[in-house]
């Protein structure tokens, strides 16, 4: 590649990625030489804001593909990057640096790791090639492993990080193994070429194509924490500090979902496919079964949790199960459904984690009892938490309800319709009322403990307020984001 070709690419389309990269470098240098955590925090927030500003100039930009189709920009990448960037911004705003420093005795700094992980996620979203895709995925994963283990004096954190890295490596190995089948069959790593090759594949090789698809898919379930790669979730969330757990459950998961959706939709649904259908059509039964198992396991095991982080871990497993349904029932609006659900999930889950963070910092305890009597201590925070929980449970009037409603309609209008999945979704949603409801009972009807004053950093209110506003607004006027999506 000579210099001329290199310069001929439309680099400006990567401005958000460059911004995050440069911010990450600056923050790490700052940390090395000055070690001012407050400054790190503000620089990171500024960097993410700048990246959002660059991204927003690309609204309704035409599709671009540079670096020989390894980096693509289209409307899907645009909308999913919004979720990644906004989610990270909200997580950065959720915590006050001085506060964490006192309680956690953290030497290093998690800000540049967070930015690196975000960059990995953004690369995953924009990849048109399996190699860059994998590189982005590993950047995201490795940064996450360190973030989980950053509280090195905390036993849970060490244990969680170790488990995370072992399970993660296993998942990466499985993914790569699956991808190697696909490469072997098609002789290319480019997703669009894979799609073309798959549509003209020899009948005898069909089983291999499906096997490759299945193994890759199972490997990728690690990132979205669904069955069978879900068991790391509770331990890792428990070990990670709350903002990191929020990042794993929202941003990292969103990146995982868009990765799976993109691979499925670009590479495996090409017509005319195999003998009777596409690779996707043969493998879709598997996705449906995994979705069902994930919903059941996540929701029923959550019933037994007292530790709040573990509870939210199982809850996040359950939500991943719901999100698999649009993939098992592909319609013309599956992507839109996934995007809206991830948006709603980002708002309500980060909001809930922010409240959880406040309480954990105040009590140095993660038991459900930290919620007791919250209503008497901070009515406003309680009302906001109620909205998040209602949204997570899918009560009408909240964004979570619209998200579930879209998934449900999609499952029924797909061809063939997925009645069983829709039924399991309704049943498990009803089960989820019980554990979300237990938190409500704690907040409203239990007497408050002696900690009368609740310390809430001003910056946290920004996150909680923004999430509340979004959850309610998108619940009452769901067409606002949906029209935005269909530019």
């Amino acid at each position: 590649m000579d210099l001329e070709t290199l310069l001929s690419f439309k680099w400006s389309i990567m401005a958000p990625e460059f911004t995050i990269l440069i911010t990450g470098v600056i923050v790490s240098l700052q940390d090395l030489f000055y070690g001012n955590k407050r400054l790190s925090s503000w620089l990171s927030i500024l960097g993410v804001l700048l990246a959002i500003a660059f991204l927003s100039t690309q609204y309704q930009h035409e599709s671009v593909s540079i670096l020989y189709d390894t980096y693509i920009f289209d409307e899907v990448t645009f909308f999913f990057k919004i979720i990644l960037l906004t989610g990270t911004l909200l997580i950065l705003l959720m915590t006050s640096p001085s506060w964490d420093e006192e309680t956690e005795r953290v030497r290093g700094d998690f800000h540049y790791l967070l930015l690196a992980a975000l960059l990995g996620g953004m690369i995953v979203v924009s990849s048109g090639d399996v190699i860059t895709l994998y590189a982005g995925l590993e950047l995201l994963s490795i940064s996450s492993y360190i973030m989980v283990g950053i509280r090195k004096y905390n036993r849970n954190a060490n244990e969680g990080a170790m488990k995370y890295i072992i399970t993660g490596s296993l998942a990466s190995a499985v993914t790569l193994f699956g991808l190697s089948y696909i490469y072997g069959l098609t002789g290319t790593t480019n997703l669009f070429d894979i799609s073309r090759e798959m549509s003209a594949i020899d009948t005898q090789l069909e089983p291999l194509a499906i096997l490759g698809f299945v193994i890759t898919f199972v490997g990728l379930t690690f990132k979205i924490s669904t069955v069978p790669f879900h068991m790391w979730t509770p331990d890792v969330y428990q070990g990670a500090s709350t903002p990191v757990a929020a990042f794993l459950s929202v941003v990292s998961k969103a990146a995982g979902f868009i990765l799976i959706a993109r691979m499925l939709i670009i590479a495996f649904t090409a017509e005319p496919g195999l003998e009777q259908g596409t690779v996707y059509e043969y493998g879709v039964g598997l996705i449906a079964v995994l979705a069902a198992l994930t919903m059941i396991v996540g929701n029923t095991v959550a019933l037994r949790q007292r530790n709040m982080k573990r509870l939210f871990a199982y809850s996040s497993i359950a939500h991943a199960g719901y999100l698999l349904i649009p993939l098992a029932a592909l319609t013309s609006f599956s992507l839109e459904t996934i995007w809206f659900y991830l948006l709603a999930y980002m708002l309500m889950n980060i909001g809930a984690f922010a409240v959880l963070h406040v309480l954990i910092q105040n009590h140095a305890n993660e038991d459900m009892s930290i919620f007791s009597g919250l209503y008497h201590r901070s009515p406003v925070l309680t009302v906001m938490m109620t909205i998040f929980l209602a949204s997570l449970a899918g009560i009408p009037g909240t964004a979570g309800f619209i998200g579930k409603f879209n998934i449900f309609l999609g499952a029924l209008s797909a061809d063939p319709a997925r009645y069983v999945l829709a039924g399991i979704m309704v049943a498990t949603t009803v089960i989820s009322y019980v554990y979300y409801f237990n938190i409500l009972v704690q907040m409203y009807s239990r007497p408050a403990e002696k900690h009368a004053n609740l310390q809430v950093p001003a910056i946290t209110w920004v996150t909680v307020g923004f999430c509340t506003l979004g959850t309610v607004l998108f619940g009452i006027f769901p067409n606002l984001p949906l029209q935005f999506f269909n530019w």
């Binding site: 399970t167 199972v218 790669f229 049943a427 009322y433 009807s445």
Partner: protein, 612 residues
């Protein structure tokens, strides 16, 4: 006026927002503010009803949600049926607001109480004006939330918390049915708007069997909300809430929402014989079932609660037998006399500070207005001739006769007899007897006025039956008022009076020892007293089995998987002793599960010959 109908629900919403945000400052005036705003809603409602006489139908919508290529609307829909509901809701709500001024008196949290009342009224008004099922569903859930908050208002009472939680979960089971039903309807017709659904029904656009299925699913929602068997158990427990709340929510409005749902979607039900039959049978069974339980309960409010369940069963029965007008008419008269009974009962409870009728033992006789008001309500619900209840019940009997449902007619008549027995048992035990002679605490005026207004309506509203039928018939051709033959009127009157006389001899003249039958028929008494052991049944089956599944999953994850993993764990230990010390052995489990899962998937893949 009708174009401003959308403002009606907003006044109570405003009341909710103002009071929840600045309730502490406005504590003293909170009740007056809330009553004023509800009053404005009521005046608007009257204006809208005046317009509806000439317009008969009005719809104003805007696009709310676009899914794929489908637009879902939100807005306002008015017709005679929901005009009627608007009237009932805003009127009863206004009276309950006024009554609560006295009842909540100096309660410290009364601003919160009035805020919740506002929220509930808003939701209920929004519900009855919904032009489509999705908006209906959203308000339906909001109504449930309002009810939950109000039942659990006395936070410090463990029983109130439990009751609120139970109501929330039980009705949610019904809601799931409603949700599935509305989504199936959407799938069949591509629309959720009531008018478009009716067109689709007319043009037979549903797949075979789908009409019945969707109608039954909607009815499951109604069963949950309207306390029909088998989802009725939350309603008596909901009596833990403040009494005016019981009058508003658990007598006149929310529980009637289920009946309203069946009425609003009536063309769908009419298209399916089976659905109508199920509605009628469940209604009839609930009516007699709850009436028998009502016979032996000793708590003043619980008797009224079971009576409500039973009367709601009547309404469903009427709708199931094609008695559209009869069902809605009974809903209206019931709203008046049951709200009256609850408000009067609230006065008794407030004045005497007890609600077990055996302890009250006639002490209520000192409360003159309450006593006469309660008597009017009792006579009306018992179907005493020329009072409102007699007209609406006769309409129901006539509809059953017309439809040829002789068995159900028998059940309905028997229930009418039981109704007058248990209601007069209640009346006699509370207001007749030789209880303490001291004059009880007086009842404030604000609590007397609503009782008097409702008593008047309970007495006279029956005479409007014909006008009522004409009003509903303006829009729907199936709105026909059936008239009973003379022998049926005679029989119904006889049963009603017979029940009163029967109760008189047992509870006033003590001709029969009322305790004696408890020993002679001890098993019957036990079954009735324990409400047919329905709660115990749920406790022992559903709750335990859910718990069992959850334990099963938990232990599977913990032990079964771990046992399998033990082997792999041992191997890994041999390979790297250092690394394994760091963990408690479980991370191996995770890996094993993941790889085992993959292996199973691949195995299935191979067994199925290379395809899934």
């Amino acid at each position: 006026m009708i174009s401003f109908a959308w403002l009606i629900p907003l006044f109570p919403l405003l009341s909710f927002l103002v009071l929840i945000l600045s309730g502490k400052k406005l504590k003293t005036v909170s009740g007056y503010l809330a009553s004023l705003l509800t009053g404005i809603s009521f005046i608007f409602t009257l204006g809208v009803i005046a317009d509806l006489r000439s317009v008969t139908e009005y719809e104003a919508t805007w696009t709310w949600l676009t899914i794929g290529t489908t637009d879902i609307q939100a807005g306002v829909w008015l017709n005679p049926l929901n005009g009627l509901m608007l009237f009932i809701v805003s009127f009863v709500s206004l009276l309950v607001h006024i009554y609560s001024l006295g009842y909540m008196g100096e309660n410290d949290r009364r601003a919160t109480y009035f805020a919740y009342l506002g929220l509930f009224t808003f939701a209920m008004l929004g519900l009855v004006m919904s032009p489509n099922l999705i908006q209906f569903y959203m308000f339906w859930e909001l109504v449930g939330l309002g009810s939950f908050l109000l039942i659990g208002f006395y936070l410090y009472k463990e029983s109130a918390k439990r009751a609120a939680r139970k109501a929330f979960i039980m009705t949610r089971i019904g809601d799931a049915g409603l949700l599935v039903g509305l989504i199936l309807i959407f799938w069949q017709t591509g629309s959720l708007s009531f008018t478009e659904i009716f067109q689709a029904v007319e043009q037979n656009e549903f797949a075979p069997g789908m009409v019945t299925l969707t109608a039954i699913l909607l009815f499951i929602g109604a069963v949950g909300k309207s306390g029909q068997f088998p989802l009725h158990t939350w309603l008596p427990d909901a009596m833990e809430g403040p009494t005016p709340v019981s009058a508003l929510i658990h007598a006149a409005t929310m529980v009637a929402a289920g009946v309203y749902l069946v009425a609003a979607a009536y063309p769908l039900f009419l298209a399916s014989e089976w659905a109508l039959m199920i509605v009628a049978v469940i209604g009839a069974f609930t009516a007699i079932f709850a009436a028998t339980i009502g016979l032996v309960q000793d708590d003043l409010k619980r008797v009224l609660a079971y009576s409500t369940v039973s009367q709601l069963g009547y309404m469903m029965l009427a709708l199931g037998a094609g008695g559209y007008v009869a069902g809605m008419f009974h809903l209206t008269t019931h709203a008046f006399f049951k709200a009256l009974l609850f408000l009067a009962a609230g006065s008794v409870i407030l004045a005497l500070r007890k609600q077990n009728i055996k302890e009250i033992a006639g002490e209520g006789r000192h409360l003159a207005i309450t006593k006469w008001g309660f008597l009017a309500g009792t006579l009306a619900i018992s179907g005493f001739p020329l009072l409102s209840g007699s007209f609406s019940k006769e309409a129901i009997f006539a509809a059953l006769l017309e439809d040829g449902q002789y068995g159900l007619l028998g059940v309905a008549l028997l229930t009418a007899f039981l109704t007058s027995v248990y209601m007069f048992r209640l009346y006699f035990m509370v207001f007749h007897g030789k209880g303490a002679d001291k004059p009880p605490k007086s009842v404030p005026v604000s609590m007397k006025i609503p009782v008097i207004i409702l008593a008047a309506l309970a007495v006279i509203s029956g005479f409007f039956a014909t006008g009522f039928a004409d009003w509903l018939a303006a829009e729907q051709e199936y709105a026909v008022l059936h008239h009973s033959p003379t022998w049926l009127i005679f029989l119904a009157t006889l049963l009603s009076l017979g029940g009163i006389v029967f109760a008189y001899f047992i509870y006033v003249r003590k001709q029969m020892d009322r305790e004696e039958w408890k020993t002679t028929f001890s098993s019957t008494y036990t079954i009735l007293y324990h409400k047919y052991f329905i709660d115990e049944f749920y406790q022992n089956t559903i709750i335990y089995s859910t718990r069992a599944i959850s334990y099963l999953m938990y232990y599977t994850e913990r032990y079964v998987v771990e046992t399998i993993a033990a082997f792999a764990a041992g191997m890994v230990k041999e390979i790297g002793k250092t690394g394994s010390r760091l963990q408690n052995g479980r991370v191996q489990t995770y890996g094993t599960v993941a790889l085992l899962g993959l292996a199973v998937i691949v195995l299935i893949f191979v067994v199925r010959g290379g395809y899934f």
